[in-house]
C-alpha cells in the first residue's frame, strides 16, 4: 500500500463525521452570518436579498431593548448556574455517602430532566400564577402576603430562575456523580487515616479531582442557560416590560414574531460570541 494512501487513510474514516459537522454546524453558522449581513425579513425573503453590511448589528446595538435583554440574561444565567451547580453538587455529594436507597433517590432527582421543557414551563406558569397559582394559595393560607411572581418586573426573573433551576439541576447531579464515581475511594481512606475531616476531604480532595468535570459542567449549563428560551416564552412571553426577555428570547421574537430574520440572525451571532467567550473564561481560569 502506498505511503500516501496510508497517510490519507485516517481522513477517509473521518470524512463522514466531518461531513455531518460541516452540514449541521459549520454551514449553518456561515449561513447565519450571511443572513445577518443582508436585509432579510418575511417580506423580502422570496426576493433578492440586499447586502447591507453591519446595519443589522448597528440596529441591534442601538436598540435599548437589546441591552435590557443582555442585562436580564446576566441575571438569569448567573442565578440559574449558581443554583444548578450549587444544589447539583450538594445532592451528588450527599448521594455518594452511604445513603439507603441512593439509587432510587438518584432516579427521582433525574425526573425533571426527563420532562419536556415546555411541560415544565407550563407547570411553573400555573404554580406561579398571581391569582390561581398554588404558591400564592399556600402563602395566603399561611397568613402571608401573596406576590406577583410573574407580574412584578422586579421578581419575575427569579421565578424563571427557579423554574430553570428545577429543570436543569438533574444534569449537574448526573454529571458530577459520574465525576465522583471516578475518584479512587482509597484516597479518602488515606485522608481519614491522616486525620482529615469530611469537609477538609471535600475541599482538598474532592473539589480538585472533580475540577475537569466542574469546568465542563459549568460550560454546558451556562451555554444552555444562555440559549434557553422555552421557559421565558411560555411563562411570561418576555414581560412584563421586557423584565424577563433574555437575549435568546429577544432573538426569537425579532426573527419569528416580527419577521426580522436578519436582525434575529445578528442577535444569534452576538449570542454565539457570548457563549464562546464564557467557555474561554471558564477554560482559562478554572483549569489552572
Amino acid at each position: 500500500m502506498s505511503s500516501t494512501f496510508v497517510k490519507a487513510e485516517p481522513y477517509f474514516f473521518l470524512a463522514p463525521a466531518l461531513a455531518i459537522l460541516f452540514v449541521f454546524l459549520i454551514f449553518p453558522l456561515f449561513w447565519n452570518t450571511y443572513i445577518s449581513l443582508h436585509d432579510v425579513s418575511l417580506v423580502t425573503i422570496l426576493n433578492q436579498w440586499e447586502y447591507i453590511g453591519g446595519t443589522n448589528f448597528l440596529d441591534l446595538f442601538s436598540d435599548p431593548n437589546f441591552y435590557m435583554s443582555l442585562k436580564i440574561t446576566l441575571m438569569f444565567v448567573g442565578g440559574s448556574v449558581a443554583l444548578q451547580f450549587g444544589i447539583g453538587l450538594l445532592i451528588s455529594v450527599l448521594l455518594q455517602q452511604q445513603v439507603r436507597a441512593s439509587g432510587v433517590l438518584r432516579a427521582i432527582f433525574i425526573i425533571p430532566w426527563t420532562i419536556s421543557a415546555v411541560i415544565a414551563a407550563f407547570s411553573f406558569k400555573f404554580i406561579f400564577d398571581d391569582n390561581f397559582g398554588i404558591l400564592n394559595y399556600v402563602l395566603i393560607q399561611l397568613g402571608l402576603q401573596s406576590s406577583g411572581w410573574l407580574s412584578d418586573p422586579n421578581i419575575v426573573i427569579w421565578s424563571l430562575v427557579i423554574a430553570n433551576m428545577w429543570y436543569g439541576t438533574p444534569f449537574t447531579i448526573l454529571f458530577l456523580t459520574a465525576g465522583l464515581l471516578s475518584i479512587n475511594p482509597t484516597i479518602y481512606e488515606a485522608a481519614v487515616i491522616d486525620g482529615a475531616t469530611k469537609i477538609r476531604s471535600f475541599i482538598h480532595i474532592t473539589l480538585p479531582l472533580l475540577r475537569p468535570f466542574i469546568v465542563i459542567n459549568l460550560i454546558l449549563i451556562t451555554m444552555w442557560s444562555v440559549n434557553f428560551f422555552d421557559i421565558q416564552l411560555i411563562m411570561t412571553g418576555g414581560g412584563p416590560l421586557f423584565s424577563s426577555t433574555t437575549a435568546s428570547l429577544y432573538m426569537y421574537r425579532q426573527a419569528f414574531e416580527f419577521g426580522l430574520l436578519s436582525k434575529g440572525a445578528a442577535a444569534g451571532i452576538v449570542l454565539i460570541t457570548i457563549n464562546l467567550s464564557v467557555a474561554f473564561v471558564y477554560l482559562r481560569f478554572l483549569r489552572r
Binding site: L42, V43, L46, N131, S151, G237, G239, P240, F258
Partner: protein
Amino acid sequence: MKISKLACTCLVLAILLFISLGQVVVTTPVEAQKQQVTLTAIVAEPKERWDTLFSDALQKLRQKHPDMDIQVDYRVLPYDATRTQILTAMVGRSPIDLISVDQIWLGEFAEGGFLTDLTERANTWGRENDWYQTNWDGGKYNGKVYGIWAWTDIRAMWYWKDLLNQAGVDPNSLKTWNGYIAGAKSLNDALNGQGIQGMHLVGADHSPDMWYPYLWMLGGEILEQKNGHPTNGTYWFPAYNSTQGVKALEFIKQEIDAGIKPQTNHFWGQEFADKKFAVMLEGSWLLGTFPREQWSNLTQSVGMLPMFSVPNENNKTATMMGGWILSIPETSTNKDLSWELLTIMLQPEVLSTMLQKEGYLPTQKPIGEGPYATQLNTTIPYYKEMIAMIPIGHSRPNIPEYPQIADNIKQAIDEVYFGIKEPKQALDDAALKSAKVLGW
C-alpha cells in the same frame, strides 16, 4: 425433500403476491379512472370548528366533482404554531392549498408573496355585497383581495348578575367611564374577601387590543397616512399618541388607580366562567367556556353589555373585531379546486351550521340578518346584541410592521400599568419607535 419444501414455500409466496397485486389491479373501471386529489390545509385551533366545516364542505365539493376522489388533509395547530408553520411552508415553497390567516398577518403574508391574489376570482364569485364592509375590506391588502374573512368575534362587557347585585352595582352604571371606575371600587370592596376581583384588566400580550376601542370611540386611529415618507412617498404613520390616545390611556391609568390589577396570564374567558371576576371585557368566544347545555339559561345568570364604557353618554361606543380569514397560498397546486372549497365553506347553509355549534359571529349579511339569523338567535345567547356590535367594530391594521407596532403600544401600556411613565410620555416614546419601524 428439502428442495420440495423450498419449492412449496416459494409457490405459496408467489400465490400470495399474485393475489395482493390482483387486489390492486381488480378495481372497478370508474374507481380506476377517478382522479385522486388531496387538498392540504393549515388552520388554527380549536379543531372542532374545522371538523364540522371541512366535513360539510367536502361532501358538497365531491358531489360537484364525481370524477374526482377529493380528500382534505388539514393540520390544526395552536395560534403561534399556525403562523410559524405557514411561514415555514411558504418560505420552503411547500404546496399548501388552504390556510386560516389572522387578520393582522394578512399584510405581512401578502407583501411577502405568500398568498394568491383572489381579486378576479372574488369578482367573478360576485358575493362582495353579502359581506359587511369592514369584514370584506379586512381581506384586502393594497386594494387586492388576498383572503375572505370567514367569521368574526367582538369584545363586549360580560358580568355576573348575582355578584353585581351583591355589591349593589347597577349594570347600566358601568356604561360610562366614571360609572365603571365607581363600580370597580364597589365590587372590589364587596367581593375581594371571597377571592373574587371586581373587574378584569388585560395585562397579557394582547393588551393593546383591549385599549383600541377607547381610542376609536374618541375618534382616534392607530395609524394614519402621511406624505413625505423617505421611500414610499405616502405611508402609514403612528397616530395613536394623539390627544384621543392620551385620553384613552388615561382612562386605563384611572382603572389602575382604582385598584384594578392587570392580569398577565390570560385564560380567554375561563377565568370569568370560573367566577374569578365579576366583570370582564372579553370576546364573544367567552360563551364557549360555558357548557352548551347551559346556553339556554345563561342569560339569567350572565349579563352582557354590548359595549366598552364611554367617556359620557353622548359618545358612541366601539369594539374590536377579530376572527379568521381563509386564504389560498401561492404555493397551492390546486388553486381552482381550493377556491371552490373555500366558497363552499362560506356558503350560508354550510357556515351557519358551524357558527351555531361554536358561537361565532358571521361576517356576511345573509347569516347575520337573513333567514339563518333566527336559528342562531335562538341558540347563541345575546346573538342579536353581538350582531348589532359589528357595525361599530373596528379591525387592526394588517400591514407587515403591525406586530412591532403592537409591541411598542404594549410597552407603553405596561409603563402606565407600572407607573413608570405618564400616558402622554409613554405613547410619545412608543410612537417614536413605531415611526422608525415604519421607515420614517
